[in-house]
């Protein structure tokens, strides 16, 4: 049983996984430059996603977090077969998605929908909002033709827009309204799983909260399962039951939201959390949580890929890639020292509240 943040339990047997990702890899060949050609260098490969595994159970919201270059968006797209898998499997409700034929793929895409950061770029500027929604309903044959209009209005009200919105053009909408329309269109086909890629990153703070509350209401009302991809840790914490933390194409740590935010065991998770500004009005006096940049995905460090920025890295980390260490039924950590007391000390030394104590 998985513990939710509110302490309630929900079934967790592997069979109830609606989505299972197994050793997923997505590689992009990098074109050889003229210099590469002259020097006889082989074409190199960017391993955007380098073997990740996790599952999402029915009714659950899983947060996928990471910085740019972590591969979180590529992973989300690969799950919907919008990117080609190089290796591994995506299993949705028992079926291997990569093996689906054209017709089965159509059925799959009705059950899984994606919501993008900026729905404006995915809305046809020459279609009124009502027509855009009607098109989705007609294409996927969701309702009979004479029921389409009623269904469009129902969808609009579901996402908190009034009926007049059906007559508007995409350019007349604000960012928040567009994201509501993006949601309505995803919901039009009555999906079971929503993959949301940075759904609130482009919105103003006051509008973000409106959309987050709407997403929570929809999830509870419709029993939706969600894969919530975001770089904002506060938003992920707010939305997720479980969290998957990615770095340079690999999963560093997974756990319940409480485990990840209260008892993170991977040094990367700990330092990532430390880097987030708190709503505590005290001027900072600390050094940054993490030095340096994420290494290039063309040049991934040997062994543990986080070792070049890790404050507790040992010679072993360069030679041996860590395996998952099981900390609890729900928490897995890819660090040699996940159970080592030294790791705990990373967190103590970098206690986010350290410079605020003793006031």
């Amino acid at each position: 049983m998985a513990m939710r943040e509110d302490g309630s339990m929900r079934p967790q047997s592997a069979d109830s996984a609606l989505l299972r990702v197994e050793d997923l890899r997505v590689e992009f060949p990098k074109q050889r430059s003229l210099a590469d050609f002259i020097l006889g260098r082989q074409a190199r490969v960017v391993k955007a996603v380098d073997g990740i595994s996790f599952d999402v159970r029915k009714g659950e919201t899983v947060g996928l977090v990471g910085e740019s270059g972590s591969g979180k968006t590529t992973a989300g797209r690969a799950i919907l077969r919008l990117n080609k898998l190089s290796h591994g499997r995506v299993i949705f409700d028992g079926d291997d998605v990569s093996a689906l034929d054209y017709q089965a793929l159509g059925r799959f895409r009705r059950r899984v929908q994606m919501v993008f950061q900026d729905p404006y770029s995915s809305l046809n500027p020459r279609l009124r909002i009502g027509s855009a929604l009607a098109e989705a309903l007609r294409f996927h044959e969701i309702v009979r033709d004479n029921e389409i209009r009623r269904e469009v209005l129902e969808l609009l009200s579901l996402v908190g827009l009034d009926a007049g919105m059906a007559e508007r053009w995409p350019r007349q909408l604000s960012g928040g309204q567009r994201q509501r329309v993006g949601l309505a269109r995803a919901l039009a086909v009555r999906p079971q799983l929503l993959v949301l890629d940075e759904p609130v990153a482009a919105l103003d703070v006051s509008i973000q909260a409106q959309i987050l509350n709407l997403l929570r209401d929809l999830r509870n009302g419709l029993g939706l399962t969600m894969l919530f991809i975001a770089h904002e840790l506060n938003v992920v914490r707010h939305m997720s039951d479980r969290v998957v933390v990615m770095y340079l194409g690999k999963v560093m740590e997974t756990g319940t939201t409480e485990e990840i935010f209260e008892r993170p065991r991977h040094p990367y998770t700990q330092l990532l959390l430390k880097a987030v500004p708190r709503l505590v009005p005290v001027k900072r006096q600390r050094a940054p949580a993490l030095e340096g940049d994420v290494p290039s995905p063309l040049d991934v460090p040997s062994g543990c890929r986080f070792r070049t920025r890790c404050p507790i890295a040992q010679p072993r980390c360069a030679m041996e890639e860590p395996a998952d260490i099981v900390v609890s039924v729900t928490q897995k950590v890819r660090c040699h020292f996940a159970l080592d007391p030294r790791v705990a000390s990373v967190m103590t030394n970098s206690d986010p509240y350290a410079n605020r104590r003793g006031e």
Partner: protein
């Protein structure tokens, strides 16, 4: 009313009654109105607001960087180091921009010229404003890059910008701004385009530079967390006007404007378990169609009849704490909503 949140004698920058209009085919859009505030030597003033609140326009107006037309800028005065910037010629303004006031803008990638080396771009300012020779300027550029935390600066100084990450480029832009040893640094959303760990590095760097040089900092952000961790005082902008200003801690603990309260209630906090979000209803106003009265009235939880007609003025509610709200007593932000008790 003049901002008196700190003693006026120590003011480095004093802006009085600034107004910026943009004239367009849709009519006249007032991007900044009744803006009066001051920045003390060595302090950080945080400016928070959403898109369209006028915060970027304000930064550019202080430096008189807004092209006219379409912008029309008026102010009683913008006093800086005893001079009124409104009275200076363009040539004199260039001196001020290069030396006394540094600036860092949001998108670091567009702040550097891609066909010049980073070192050349930093030393250009040093040669023009400080009259340094070529090799002297280069040495100074290396020193500045080291100061902003670029590893092996004596080698990287000859790199072209494309070889640098977004975080390194923002450091280089900060180095350029620091080249004139400014007394004031204007940073407009300096970390918005960056990853959270890189944002963390840049914020620590800015704080460190401020401690080392005692410069004043005006830091614009839409992120209340960033403002909380960096500013001494805070100014909240809405629809081009100051709706609240005061000491940051005081405003976080006792917000006196419903918009500030709304912002604080609508942010999920990474340190909180189950925080209920109370969004601000409605949409930000269209600046071209602002009506009389309080611009926040259509979205306000505490609105009453007088809000629709009143002429808004900042009024003092505490020591140096001012609000444009007619009814600040209606705001009872439960302190547990903001983890100030840490």
């Amino acid at each position: 009313m003049v901002d008196r949140s700190h003693s006026a004698s120590a003011s480095l920058l004093e802006v009085e009654d600034l107004r910026v209009e943009f004239v367009s085919s849709r009519g006249t859009l007032v991007a900044n109105r009744n803006i009066s505030f001051s920045v003390a030597a060595g302090e950080t003033l945080g400016i928070v607001g959403e898109s369209g609140s006028g915060k970027s326009v304000l930064c550019r107006a202080i430096l008189r960087l807004l092209p006219s037309p379409p912008a029309q800028q008026t102010a009683k005065r913008i006093a800086f180091l005893g001079r009124d910037l409104m009275q200076l010629s363009e040539r004199q303004m260039q001196e001020v921009r290069g030396q006394d006031i540094g600036m860092v803008f949001q998108n670091p990638m567009t702040s550097l010229n891609p066909v010049w080396t980073v070192g050349d771009q930093i030393s250009e300012g040093l040669r023009i404003h400080k009259g340094l020779g070529h090799s002297e300027a280069r040495r100074a550029a290396v020193r500045l890059l080291r100061q902003v935390g670029i590893p092996s600066p004596e080698i990287r100084v000859d790199d072209y910008p494309y070889r640098w990450s977004g975080g390194m480029i923002q450091r280089a832009v900060i180095a350029m701004a620091m080249a004139g040893s400014p007394k004031l640094l204007l940073a407009d959303e300096p970390t918005t385009a960056l990853d959270v760990t890189i944002q963390d590095q840049i914020l620590s760097l800015l704080m460190e530079l401020q401690r080392a040089t005692h410069m004043s900092l005006v830091l614009v952000s839409h992120d209340m967390g960033v403002i909380a961790e960096t500013s001494d005082r805070l100014m909240v902008l809405y629809a081009g006007q100051i709706v609240e200003i005061g000491r940051t801690r005081e405003i976080f603990e006792n917000p006196a404007h419903p918009y500030t309260e709304g912002l604080l209630r609508s942010i999920p906090n990474v340190g909180d378990k189950e925080r209920q979000l109370t969004p601000i209803r409605g949409q930000p106003p269209d600046l071209a169609r602002l009506e009389d009265g309080c611009p926040f009235a259509p979205r306000c939880r505490h609105v009453s009849a007088d809000c629709w007609t009143a002429d808004l003025q900042l009024a003092e509610v505490g020591d140096g704490h001012m609000t444009a709200c007619l009814h600040p007593e209606r705001i009872r932000l439960s302190k547990t909503l903001v983890d100030v008790e840490q």
